[in-house]
């Protein structure tokens, strides 16, 4: 855990130093402590720092949500986006873009529309699958996947009938980015993901017991229905918020929990915080690459997380297979 924390701080510092405007380490350090109102200071605090904080919050939230859902479904292939929540958010945003709502309301519209879309999907899957006060997990997964398909079809429909500049907006939003000029949203996101992390620890016993299956968890004195509902809602809200602010940044919620499980085992006391920190670090790192590789323009961060995360994972898996573990 200490190593993880250290790595995270190192990545954050690295990310602070790297950027399209090349600032040396000395300049960086100097401007952090003294140079108010210098260009360097402005770049650091107005451009890079917000992205790092947002990367921390979103990366942590997605990865935490992934680890919770994988624990809940006892299925390692589940990730935050499997549940159709991102689809709902994307649909909400596409509608907002094409209906030009943002012109009348302002910049916060897109995150808000995304959140609205995400929440409606969550409520939809939840109400479909709750019967006799029990949440049907298998059904939850299937409806989630179906809603994912339906909403992506709708998005394609919207894209087909929208004009070029709207199309561009939709595509860029879908690919995900940590560029967010609104400080309030950044702080809110940070608060939500840290609150999510603390709340998840209320359920560490439940998550650990659920590793044995629902009935076994009940035999261990776990109120499984309450745990399932609370954890599903918690993971959904974390995902919904992350997607609304950052767009669809894939793979963090799938890969990082896997990685962490390989390294620290499946005890959720370590795994929850480990995944949060791992996801945070990974996303900050990917974002740094995204904005430095082709500087001064930038790549969509979702592309980097996908390519990097995926290939890294295959590599780790292959190595693990070879060592016979």
């Amino acid at each position: 855990m200490l190593i993880l924390g250290g790595a995270l701080i190192f990545i954050a510092a690295l990310s602070l130093c790297l950027g399209s405007a090349a600032l040396s380490v000395q300049t960086t350090i100097r401007s952090i402590f003294s140079g108010h109102n210098t260009t360097a200071h402005n770049i650091l605090f107005e451009i890079r720092l917000p992205r790092i904080i947002l990367g921390f919050a979103i990366g942590g939230a997605l990865s935490l949500s992934g680890v919770i859902l994988q624990g809940l479904f006892r299925n390692p292939l589940v990730e935050p986006y499997t549940m159709g929540i991102s689809g709902g958010a994307a649909l909400g945003v596409s509608m907002a873009i094409i209906l030009k709502i943002y012109q009348s309301v302002g910049l916060v519209t897109l995150p808000f529309a995304g959140f609205l879309g995400a929440v409606s999907v969550i409520m939809l899957i939840y109400t479909i699958n709750i019967r006799n006060k029990t949440l049907k997990m298998q059904g939850l997964l299937l409806t989630g996947v179906m809603i994912s398909f339906i909403s992506s079809s709708f998005i394609m429909l919207i894209m087909a009938i929208s004009r070029t500049e709207d199309l561009h907006g939709i595509i860029f939003w879908i690919m995900g980015s940590l560029e967010e000029p609104n400080w309030f949203l950044i702080k809110l996101m940070l608060f939500i993901s840290l609150a999510g992390l603390s709340l998840s620890y209320i359920f560490w016993k439940d998550l650990n017991a659920l590793r044995l299956g629902e009935e076994e968890a009940a035999h261990l004195g776990i109120n499984t229905e309450r745990a399932k509902r609370a954890l599903f809602v918690l993971a959904s809200i974390l995902t919904g918020c992350a997607v609304s602010v950052g767009g669809i940044i894939g793979f963090v919620g799938l890969i990082i929990p896997h990685f962490m499980r390989m390294f620290v085992g499946s005890d959720h006391r370590v795994l929850l915080a480990g995944s949060f920190l791992g996801g945070a670090g990974f996303l900050i790192f990917c974002d740094t690459l995204a904005r430095t590789l082709v500087a001064p323009s930038e790549l969509p961060v979702g592309v980097i997380t996908g390519i990097l995360g995926g290939s890294f994972f295959i590599y780790a898996l292959a190595r693990k297979g070879k060592s016979g573990a």
């Binding site: 560490w204 009935e215 009940a218 035999h219 006391r269």
Partner: protein, 275 residues
Amino acid sequence: MRWPGRENRVLEIRNLTCGYDKRFHLKDVNLAIGEGGFFGIIGPNGSGKTTLLRAMTRILKPESGEVLLRGKDIWHIDFIELARTISVVSQNVSTDDLNVGEFVLLSRIPHYRGLQFLETKHDEEIADNAMAMTDTLKFKDRSMSEISGGERQLVLIARALAQEPKYLLLDEPTSHLDITHQVRVLDLLKKLNRELSLTVIIVLHDLNLASEYCDRIALLSGGTIYKEGLPGEVLDYQTIENVYKTVVIVEKNPISLKPYVLLVSEDQRLRARKK
């Protein structure tokens, strides 16, 4: 916690009807299982043995009737309180990628206090103790997926023991085991029953094992209790032939003097009839 008087030290099932999706697997079952006993539940496939066990452990909600633990409806007992009283060894436990030690320690979950975050020395001692009793301490660091079926069954019992229950419910713990392990598991349960005065309620397929080890037996048939009593009362050839629709001969085990059920194949039956 103070329990009511001695006469209440019993797990009682009253007019229990329950099943899945409106199809009833159990109809109007009445049963009282006294504490400290070794109680067997037998019956053909689909007669409702596992359903009964699931109703007793609060997995299945009764359609009507109730299950009373020491006079209290189990659906009104706190989850954690129930888990501290009853522990269950079920047939399919997914064990993930856990190692044996971690797996056994999970049983301490109902004993955690409020904000307790790590296992205490006490928890670890109890887990080690349970593994020592079941002779599984030597696998402590092995993965659950590496050990054999017999060893796995012993580890499941170790986990249930570390939960420090008053009642231990087991669903066919000896199926798929060779006779060495069958006897080992049941001898162990008998010993725990005697030494810790642990109440054992066990679903068994093997009539002879049930006869040898159980103080009392309930024979289920088609979702109702066909007969309940001492092994000698329940296991006579007529009862078994009625319930199992199979020809059997019941003899006495020369050493334990308990009933012993022998099967007769169709060929032999025909040959006997010709004579």
